[in-house]
Structures are given as C-alpha cells and as structure tokens.
C-alpha cells in the first residue's frame, strides 16, 4: 500500500516536472536570501554576505539535480534532456548531420539488406515439419541413384523413419479449360513414392495427398497440384477435386491441392508444381541407370553421424556384391543441399557489408571527434557546473544514438529498396530468394546493429572529449596541446583503419572482377551469338504417335530452315548448359570386357542434322551426321575430343564401333564413330567437359518412341536450335508460327537465345562480382570522404601554424608537401595493414574464385595504386588550401 502511494507521489512529480524545478529553485533562493540578510545584519557588506551565503549553501545547480534524483527519474530525465540537446546540436550543423546520416545509412542499409537475404535463404528453416531431420541420400551428394539401390537402402537401414524417392517428370498438359483461354502447357513436376509427401509433414490445403499403396500398380493416375498451378489453370476452382486432367495424353484425377507456400523439392527440380505417384515397375531391379533422388527423415534419437554410418555399412556391402554401383553415396542434410552453393558467397557478402559499416563508423567517429574539439569549452563549462564525466559521456552517446537512429531509419528505407533490387537482380540459383522480406528478425538485427554502431563510433570520441585537462580547455578555448596530439593520434588511427578496411574490400571486389573476366573468356566450344532455342514437345498431341513423330521433327526442321532470316536449324534432346546431362556406359568393340564399374562412360546427346552447323561447334575430324543417317542406314556416332583422348588415346577413333546395349541383347546395335567434335560446355560453365557422344535422332528408334533400349525411354520433345542472320530474338515469333502451323496444340517452352543461356550459366559469379564491386566502390568513396574530412579539418586547425611557417619563409611547395605527407602517411599505413590482412582474408574467397589466385599480384598492385591515388586526390584539396593561407589574415583571425 505504501509502495503504491509512493509510486503515485513519484508519478505526480514526473508530471509536474517544471513546477517541481521552479519550487525547488524558489525554495533555495529564499534560503540564500535569508542567509544573506542574516549576514548583512551581522555587519557584512551585501556582496560579502552573498558570497558567505553561497559558500555555506554549496552548488545550487548540483543540489537541485540531486534533489530531483531522489524521485528516481534521473535516467529518464537525462535521456529526455540529452535527446533534446542532441537534436539541437544536430540541427545546428545540418551539413555534418547529413553527411554522417548518409554514411551510416549506407552502412546500416547495406547490412540490413544483406542480412535480410541471409535470414531468408540461410537462417529460416525449410518449410517442412522438423526440417532439420530431413536428409538426401545421393551419389556424390547431389546426383541421382538407381532404383534397386534405393530399395535396398530403404529396406536395410535402421536410422530412418521414412525413406522416399522422386524422379523428375515434365509432362504436357493438353486439356483446354472451358473458356479455351489456356493453351497446352509443358509442365514441371515430380513422380514421388507414396511416402514422400507425408514425410514432409505438410497438410494439403484441399483434398488429400498420396496414401500408402498408391504407387503400387493400378492407382498411378492421381495427381496433387501446387497452389500456383491450381490458380493458373483452373482459377482456383473449389470443385476441382475428383476432376480429370490430361498429362501426356493420360487422364489423371486431381486428389489434392498443396498450400501456397509449399515447395518441393527445394533444390534440383525446383520448378515442380505437380506431383504424381512414382511407379517403379520394371526398373525396381535396375542398379545401373540412375534416375531417383532419395529423401529420408532421420529418426528422432539418431544422429546424422549414426545415419551416415548406417548407410555406409549398407552401401559397403552392396558395393562388394555389385561393384561400381554404391561407391560415393553421401547422406546430406536437406538444407545443405539447398543452400550449399550460396552459403559461402552470402556470408562473404555479410562480412563485406560489415566492413563497410565499420568504415562508416570510423568516418562518423572522426567527424564527431572534430566537433568535440570545437565544443571543448562547452564541455569544460558543463563539467565545472557539476556534470560528472559519465554524465557528459552519456550525453555524447545519446547524440551518437540519435545520429545512428537517423542513419538506421534512412538505412531501413535503403534496405527496403535494396532488397527489392537484390531479389530482382539475383539469378534463379538463389533458393528461397522470393521469401526475402524485412521481418521481425531483420528489424531486431537492425536494432542491434544500430545500437552497436552508435557505441562503436560514439564511445571513443566521448571518452576523449571528457579526458582532457579542464583548466587548459577553459584557458585556451579548447586548444590544449597535449589533447590535440592525443586526438590527432586517434584520428590518424581512424583514417588508417578506413584505408585498411577499404583495401580489403577492394581486394574482394578486384578478385571477383578478375575471376569474372577469367570466366567470361572461357570458350563454350560453340558460338552462342544469333542462336535461338526452344523446346517443342509432342506428347499428348497428334504428333506424338511413333510413326508420326519420326516425320514431324524433320518436317519442322525443313519448314524452319525455309523461313526468311534463318541461316540454319538443328535439334538436340538437351541443350548444353540449360538442359539435363544424362550419362550412360558403353562397350567398345573388340576390347576385353571391363571390370564392373569401369566401363567407358559418356554424356549422350541425341541430335538432328544441322545441330553442329547451327551451333558452330567445330568438327575436328571425320564427317558430320546428315539426314541420310536414318533408320535404314548403319548406326553412327560422333564423339567429343575428350572421349577421343580418354578412350582412344593415341589412336584414330574414326571407324571404331561402340554399343550401349548390354550383353543380354544379342547381337548388339553397333554404332560407328564417324567424327570428332570440339569439347562443348555441358552441365555448368566451369567444369571440364566429360567424354560425350552424339547420336543421330533419325536412326534412334527410342527417341522416335518405338524402341526398347535403355536410352531415353520417355523422350517426347526436342530442343530446336536456329541460327539467324541477325539477332536471334528477331525470328522467334516466325519460328513459333512454323511450329503451330503443324498443330496449334504443340506446347513450346524455354524460348531462349544461346547468349541468354550462356549468361545464365555465369549468372551467379556475375551477381557476386556486381555486389562485391559495389561494396568496393562504396568503401572507396567512404575512405576518400574520410581522409578528405580529416585533412581538411587538420588544415583548418593549423591555419595559424601554417601562417607562421609561411611568414617565416616556408615555400608553398614545402607546405603542400607537409600536409600531403601527413595525409599520405595515414593512408599508406592503413594500406599496409590492409594488405597484410587481405593476404589472409582473401583465402576465404578461394571457393568463389575462378582462374585467379587469392593473392593475385595484379589485383593487389592495382588496388594499392587505386587507393594511393584516391588518398592523394583527397589529400591534395586540403593541402592546396593550406598553401593559399595568407599569413597576415591567419594571424589576425586568431
């Protein structure tokens, strides 16, 4: 009860604060007056009487403050006072405030933007139940595995609650909706085992997902749709459950719709928007053709290490039983597969923006330091009037906090804009980038960074401001010599650190730029300019019939070649760099049977005549595939250079025969090597090309849909490549019209120029290079502003000294040299430290670099020169100002 009363009294005081101060003031005034009166009555002069009264009373200002403290609102009140005072100070010097806020906004904004990406991409858990227990079990960590292996792992392992598998499936959807507004579409989806969707622990928004037993024979014609597909194709028809859709010419019943945020798989076939049951059927016993991606949920009480050991035991046993089939099976946390490629670059970027913030802090710190020097007298007066050291420091920190808060506010705007740009610029390879947002986590981060920033740039100047010699400050008007030296040292340290940090950032930028140019100069093997590509698929249409398909594609080629502006045309199953890369093992005629797992292997591509000519992929030896190489003529194959070196070292491969059939097929279909072409890029831009073989589509029964060999069992589409006379985009609509002149229902997808394909292949390094270059540029500007500010300030403080030097006969050149030397010493010291640190830190970038060493001397030399020149230019302006000082004016003004 008494506690409550006390609180009410205290609150009352808080509300009547000004009245309180006035009362206290009046009360003390009365006391002093009465005491003075008493002293006068004792015979003192009025003046002496007042002094005596004051001596006996003490410092009224201090006492008033202590009295106020009794009410326990001191912190709050000081904060209020400090904020008001700080705001006044900042408004008094709008130039300083603007520059400081801008520097901080750059630093805080960049940090917030990059952190929001890191948060969305790396930190936020994947959108599945207990996602940290989900793993993939794949060859080499990312590659597909054979069905029989999956079955054995699933049945023999004991560490997993569930293990499921998925296969990429991209069918044609050929129904038109009632309004006829949706054309046939080539879709991306997955065939999944029945347990895979339930494993993820996400309920459908509508209907149900697969239940055990559904991937057994008989019920394979059911489909679960993504929210996006549901919205796009049926306008969110609430009665869609139970309706049929036609995929590749077969009817599928819609049984469920997933919620909008659901995405699976989170890596590899990320465009999937429908899921159908996977029927393993005949491939159940296949241990050679790798088609499945395996996902599993680790049991609750089993560690990742135990799960790995479990799988290692099983694969070891299987490898002994079936050599070459279970060699490099790796259990990887699902999240690692999702973020693996982007983790290092993103963390490096976070580090880089951290450096930028530090530079900004150093900048603001020495600006504050300069201001504090000017306010030395004010500080001294406040100290004399009873302000304690902590009180003065907290005043300065509040001012810093105010500055940081303004910077954070501007930085937040910058980050909001920056993340939008970042997401737009970011290549498709960044997973989950569409979920980047300024959420509560990011705001918390922003708050933390802001507080830390204020302390980092505010504390040192504040400590320095209050550590000085009081009397000196009062007497000299803030020019205590010892102070100046100490403060100059701090200022030099700040400038040097800025240059050290800028040096490191510029090394990062320089290395990324050099690496990018090295990437750009890689020869893809073909000439991508003026080439247009598009996928034309036939399944589910009239052209899909085996007999018809064999005619359709050659006829299409003929028609396209006849178009105006078209130089040549060809076709391929999977476009290099953009499409899949499928491998197969083969047998070379006349060689001893290789041990299991050691057969020759090659990437295989199936082409239409005209492909090499259109891509300008040079034929090095032999002849190319022509339209005469058809189903009636002997089988032919063209190999790449790498295959020639690998499998016919020092021999002529032309005329040699190979087969993809296994021993069971007798006699096998032999293919004669008729030519060798240059290596072309395959799956990605930097990898060395694997051995590769090109088969003739026209003589391949499987491609044409009526064969039975392991090659390309589902192939129902072809990527058309067309070389234009001029720009590739100019012929796109004409080519599409040519396709649709056969059948309006033919889905066309992935219309891309080869230049785009090549650009996409280097999109990640380009994106990283752009960001690092931007960071480097920002760092350079901030460092330049920093050294300019410090030198400018130093010259203005030394006006009198320089004036004396000049009047004593120092030449202008000597003055110029003196000032420039001072600035350059700081810059060079920083650069030296930066160089040493960069040698160590750039090692972290090794993974991001191509064709350039982390200690690349050209980069290091170049950056040193750029920074040196920047320092020289930034220093020369104040230095020249110093030479123009008029000695007489300078001395008079003091």
């Amino acid at each position: 009860m008494e506690g409550l009363n006390r609180l009410i009294r205290r609150l009352g005081m808080l509300l009547r604060r000004e009245q309180f101060d006035r009362d206290l003031h009046d009360e003390m005034r009365l006391h002093l007056d009465l005491r003075q009166q008493e002293q006068i009555e004792r015979g003192l002069s009025p003046e002496d009487a007042r002094f005596a009264a004051q001596r006996r009373f003490g410092n009224p200002a201090l006492l008033r403050e202590i009295s106020g403290d009794a009410w326990g609102w001191r912190g709050l009140e000081h904060l209020g006072q400090d904020l008001r005072y700080g705001a006044r100070e900042l408004l008094r010097t709008p130039g300083f405030t603007a520059v400081a806020v801008l520097a901080l906004a750059l630093g805080i904004g960049a940090n917030t933007a990059i952190y929001s990406v890191v948060n969305a991409v790396l930190l936020r858990p994947l959108g599945y139940k207990d996602a940290n227990r989900l793993v993939t079990i794949l060859n080499d960590g990312t590659d597909p595995v054979a069905p029989a292996n999956y079955i054995d792992w699933r049945d023999q392992s004991r560490s997993f609650e569930v293990m499921g598998a998925a296969e990429y499936w991209s069918p044609n959807l050929t129904d038109s909706d009632p309004s006829q507004s949706n054309p046939p579409e080539h879709l991306y989806g997955l065939q999944v085992t029945q347990n895979l969707l339930p494993m993820l622990g996400i309920d459908p928004a509508l209907g149900r997902i697969f239940i055990p037993g559904e991937d057994r024979k008989g019920s394979e014609h059911e489909v679960v749709l993504s929210d996006r597909l549901w919205a796009r194709r049926s306008n969110r028809d609430p009665n869609i459950l139970g309706k049929m859709i036609t995929l590749n010419g077969h009817g599928y019943t819609v049984i469920g719709i997933m919620p909008p945020e659901f995405k699976f798989p989170p890596f590899w076939a990320t465009r999937a928007e429908l899921w159908v049951p996977l029927a393993l059927g005949d491939s159940l016993h296949d241990r050679d053709v790798n088609t499945l991606r395996v996902f599993a949920r680790v049991k609750r009480d089993v560690t990742l290490g135990q799960a790995r050991a479990d799988i290692a035991t099983i694969t070891g046993r299987l490898e002994r039983e079936y050599p070459g089939t279970n060699r490099d099976v790796v259990v990887t946390p699902l999240k690692e597969n999702v973020v693996g490629k982007i983790e290092t670059p993103l963390l490096m970027m976070l580090g880089a923006v951290g450096f930028i913030l530090l530079i900004a802090c150093a900048n603001v710190a020495h600006m504050l330091l300069a201001r504090i020097s000017d306010r030395q007298k004010e500080i001294a007066v406040r100290t004399v009037l009873g302000a304690g050291r902590t009180r003065v420091i907290s005043q300065f920190l509040t001012e810093s906090l105010l500055l940081a808060a303004l910077g954070a506010l501007a930085g937040l705007l910058l980050a909001l804009w920056g993340t939008k740009v970042l997401v737009k610029l970011s290549p498709a390879y960044i997973p989950r980038v569409e979920t980047v947002a300024i959420d509560a986590h990011v705001l918390l981060f922003l708050l933390g960074v802001t507080l830390l920033t204020a302390i980092v740039f505010g504390l040192a100047p504040a400590m320095h401001a209050t550590a000085g010699d009081l009397n000196g400050a009062l007497k000299e008007g803030g020019r205590g010599e010892s102070d100046s030296i100490r403060r100059n040292r701090l200022r030099s340290f700040l400038v040097a650190s800025e240059f050290a940090l800028a040096f490191m950032l510029l090394i990062g930028a320089g290395l990324m730029i050099r690496s990018f140019f090295a990437l750009q100069s890689i020869d893809p093997g073909f000439n991508p300019h003026n080439v247009l590509s598009m996928i034309v698929s036939v399944s589910g249409t009239n052209e899909a019939e085996p007999g018809r398909r064999a005619m359709f594609y050659p006829e299409l080629m003929q028609k396209v070649r006849a178009l105006p502006g078209v130089r040549s045309a060809g076709g391929i199953n999977h476009l290099p760099l953009a499409g899949d890369t499928w491998g197969l093992s083969f047998t070379i005629e006349g060689r001893p049977k290789p041990r299991p797992g050691e057969s020759p292997e090659a990437v295989y591509r199936i082409i239409m005549p005209g492909y090499f000519e259109t891509m300008r992929l040079p034929l090095l030896r032999g002849r190319t595939i022509t339209s005469n190489d058809d189903a009636r003529s002997p089988g032919v194959v063209i190999i790449n250079e790498r295959a020639a070196h690998e499998y016919w070292p020092g021999q002529d491969p032309i005329g040699e025969r190979i087969t993809f059939d296994d021993d069971k097929r007798n006699p096998p279909t032999w293919l004669t090597v008729i030519g060798v072409v240059k290596n072309a890029k395959q799956e990605d831009w930097v990898s060395k090309p694997y051995p590769e073989v090109y088969l003739a589509a026209l003589q391949n029964p499987d491609f044409m849909g009526y064969g039975g060999s392991p090659i390309a069992p589902h192939m129902a589409y072809l990527t058309l490549v067309v070389r234009a006379d001029g720009k590739a985009t100019g012929i796109a609509s004409a080519v599409k019209r040519a396709v649709w002149s056969f059948d309006r229902n033919l889905p066309i997808s992935e219309v891309l120029t080869m230049d785009q394909v090549v650009a996409d292949a280097t999109a990640q390094p380009r994106f990283e290079m752009l960001l690092f270059a931007l960071f480097g540029a920002v760092a350079l500007v901030l460092a330049a502003v920093g050294i300019y500010g410090v030198m400018n300030y130093s010259v203005s403080r030394r006006t009198r000294e320089i004036g004396i030097r000049i009047s004593l006969g120092a030449s202008r050149a000597a003055v110029l040299g003196m000032v420039a030397r001072q600035g350059m010493t700081q810059a060079l010291a920083g650069t030296a430290v930066g160089l040493a640190s960069a040698v160590l830190l750039s090692q972290l970038m090794r993974k991001l670099l191509y064709g350039v060493r982390p200690t690349d001397p050209i980069t290091f030399g170049g950056v040193a020169i750029v920074l040196g020149l920047t320092a020289l230019v930034a220093t020369s302006v104040p230095a020249r100002k110093a030479t123009r000082i008029e000695p007489m004016t300078a001395l008079r003004n003091e």
Partner: protein
C-alpha cells in the same frame, strides 16, 4: 568562529525529523537554523544538502510539504511530519541510541 563539526553520516534524517517533531511546521532555512541553534552551533548542516534530504523524505512519505508565506511575506515551502515520519523518528532514535551506547561502551576506560 567557534569549532564546528560535520553531522555524522546517516543522522541528518533523524535530526530533521526530530526538529520537525519539536517545532511543527518549518521551511528549509528554519530547519537548518534550528538544528544549529539547538546544537549550540556545534553541528553544522551543509545547508544545501538539506534539500535533497527533504526531497528523499517526501518520496518516502515521512514528511509532507505545503506552500505558505513567511513573516517577511515571501513564498516558502513548509514541511511537517506524517504519522509514517513519526514512526521513522522513533526507529531512528532507538537505532542511534543503540549505536551510541555501544560506542560509549567501547570508549569507556577499562
């Protein structure tokens, strides 16, 4: 000027409470003078420090203050004891006596 001693720390509250208990309502200057006069000018109150002490006592609810007018017709804040203040005075006095007695025993010639 006669020899003056600082008030022992911690006893300022007790002195103010006692003074107010004896005299009823007083303003700050009167309290200071009263303590000095009664102690025959031996105890010197650091005059200004009276005011923070009074504020602390206001917060604690030991005293209450009202504005009034002095004989010289000036506005002054008059303090008086609350029941809580009276209880506190008794507490402080008994504590002081206990301590003083203990010190006296220590100082007694053996």
């Amino acid at each position: 000027m006669s020899q003056r001693d600082e008030i022992p720390p911690g006893t300022l509250y007790m002195l103010i409470l006692k003074t107010l208990a004896r005299q009823g309502e007083m303003h700050g200057y009167e309290i200071a003078n009263s303590i000095q006069q009664i102690s025959e000018d031996v105890l010197q109150v650091e005059e200004g420090s009276l005011y923070p002490a009074l504020q602390r006592m206001l917060v604690k609810g030991w005293v209450k203050a009202e504005w009034g007018t002095t004989a010289g017709n000036r506005r002054a804040r008059y303090y008086h004891l609350t029941p809580l203040g009276r209880r506190q005075l008794a507490l402080e006095v008994s504590k002081y006596e206990r301590v003083a007695a203990a010190i006296a025993r220590v100082l007694q010639p053996a």
